[in-house]
């Protein structure tokens, strides 16, 4: 198992209903696998999983990436600062 920390921002946080979550996931889970798991466990997030940006340890990550041990994973919509 892999113990990770999830952070949610903006619209994703609103839908998740929380800012952060600690989660245990299988050791070789990919980002795509994590999205699938979140869609199942948190139905409110399902629709967002198509357009969500995901970071692993503060770097942008993509579907094929395997989630590293004790990773800090953030989920958020395209940025809109400035």
């Amino acid at each position: 198992m892999n113990h990770i920390k999830l952070l949610f921002f903006a619209t994703i946080r609103d839908r998740a209903g929380t800012k952060a979550l600690d989660l245990d996931i299988p050791a070789d889970l990919t980002i795509q696998g994590l999205k699938d798991k979140l869609s199942t466990d948190y139905p409110n997030l399902k629709e967002s999983m198509h357009s969500v940006l995901i970071t692993i340890n503060r770097e942008y990550a993509f579907d094929e990436a395997v989630v590293p041990l004790n990773a800090e994973i953030a989920l958020f919509p395209p940025v809109s600062g400035g």
């Binding site: 940006l53 970071t55 942008y60 600062g81 400035g82």
Partner: protein, 157 residues
């Protein structure tokens, strides 16, 4: 040539405080500096383009440690493209911000005005709006709505 890159001032910060242009400019001015290009964005109370509407205030939030790291990355990208740039400041203000308030600043300094300092500042704000994790919710007479960005970072960004 100018001072080595190691000693060049680079400021990047997410802050809840007022943006102080004069102070930031002074911090990125060297003895060899003769020109600065500065961009600031502010909250528009009245928007006429695309979807005309009024704004009461914007509520900004950031993924702070990543946002500061990505601002540093934007500064590094600027220095790679325009090696003449001396000082760089990138500041994003967060929290509840009202019309006319400066929300973001990008400033670049150089010895002269004709070697890319304007382009560097322009690049900085464009890039900040692509990869720095900051979001804003708009609150107006018709309720509140998250402003949607559109850029999808590529691997390695």
């Amino acid at each position: 040539m100018g001072p080595s890159t190691l000693n060049l001032p680079t400021i990047f910060s997410i802050t809840e405080s007022e943006i102080d242009l004069d102070d930031l400019l002074a911090q990125i001015t060297l003895k060899s500096t003769g020109a600065a290009a500065i961009f600031t964005g502010m909250v528009r109370g009245v928007t006429t383009r695309d979807n005309p509407h009024e704004t009461e205030y914007l509520e900004y939030e950031a993924y702070v440690p990543m946002a500061e790291a990505k601002m540093k990355q934007v500064a590094d990208e600027i220095r790679e493209r325009w090696p003449v740039i001396e000082g760089i400041a990138l500041v994003q203000r967060v929290g509840r911000l009202y019309p006319k308030t400066p929300t973001v600043l990008i400033a670049c300094t150089a010895a002269h005005r004709d070697t890319g300092v304007f382009d560097a500042a322009r690049y900085g704000i464009d890039r900040l709006k692509e990869i720095v994790p900051v979001w804003k919710k708009e609150v107006g007479p018709n309720g509140e709505e998250w402003v949607e960005g559109e850029y999808i970072p590529k691997p390695g960004e």
